[in-house]
Amino acid sequence: MARAALRRRLTWQAATVDAVVEETARARTIVLSVPDWPGHLAGQHLDVRLTAEDGYRAERSYSIASAPGEPVAITVERLDDGEVSPYLTQELRPGDVLGLRGPVGGYFVWEPADGGPLLLAAGGSGIVPLRAMLRHRQRSGATAQARLLYSSRSQAEVIYAAELGQLAADGVEVICTFTRRSPAGWTGYARRVDAALLAEVAWPAGQAPLAFACGPTSFVETVATGLAGLGYPAGRIRTERFGATGAR
């Protein structure tokens, strides 16, 4: 099904908002009803198009937050000077209709057959496609070991906090670092991800790990360079860069 999805001709279609879930003060998950959805892979994205009354259009690409087989969902973080995200996070209501094109992308994708151990590194809202991978791993009963390194400004900005707690209870190693403000009594990492932190957290290269890094460009560059320095082959480090969203 998924492979067929990659081959079919992409067109814009109308998607209806089924539900919105507030994740943090700045991020919300939007669950969509898409009549002709061919299925997606964990890590793929979709494009959203908004059309103003005067015909002006804006398009943005968002990672799919849900696992294959689940209803299509995206999680959007509001950028205060953004053109699209303030509308999606503050104005959009269930029943509203969006232009949608997808799923797209085949590079930043994980399937159970790809194995592990998995090192998933998220900067801010870069958690979204990695969450889809973790949900897929859970739902498919995949046995690959998984370790999540999640850099956020503060605890209040941790997206999917409750779900990550549950994943941690179910055997996913979740390692958080806070770059601006740590919770009271926090004994974990409280700094930006750097080569030294990666050396402590990453699976040894000898275990043939597979790494996915998603976040702001500078975060992704740091992780990719750091993992290469630890001996990860380039083909085992997959990267996806967001815009300068200030997520660090």
């Binding site: 494009d47 085949g106 460009t217 815009g243």
Partner: protein
């Protein structure tokens, strides 16, 4: 100005080429570097889409939409597939 990467233009490329392109490999005419499209440095801030080589920063690909038609210039690629 931060560059994104080729993942960000998976949609426009799929529409133009009719297939998933981020896992396709392109070779830079300027420096000979071979890279998956996902690894191109992509700039969306201008009037069109510009993809540059991650090695030498030469322009590989330009996509511009004009009156509903997408014009694709692959001037910087010696191959793409």
């Amino acid at each position: 100005m931060d560059a994104l990467d080729g993942n960000a233009i998976a949609g426009p490329l799929a529409e133009v080429f009719g297939t998933e392109m981020t896992t396709a490999t392109g070779i830079c005419i300027s420096c000979g570097r071979s890279s998956q499209v996902a690894g191109f440095a992509v700039y969306l801030q201008g009037p069109g889409i510009v993809a540059r080589c991650g090695g030498c920063a030469a322009v590989l690909m330009v996509l511009v939409e004009i009156r509903g038609m997408t014009c694709v210039d692959l001037r910087g690629l010696s191959s793409l597939g």
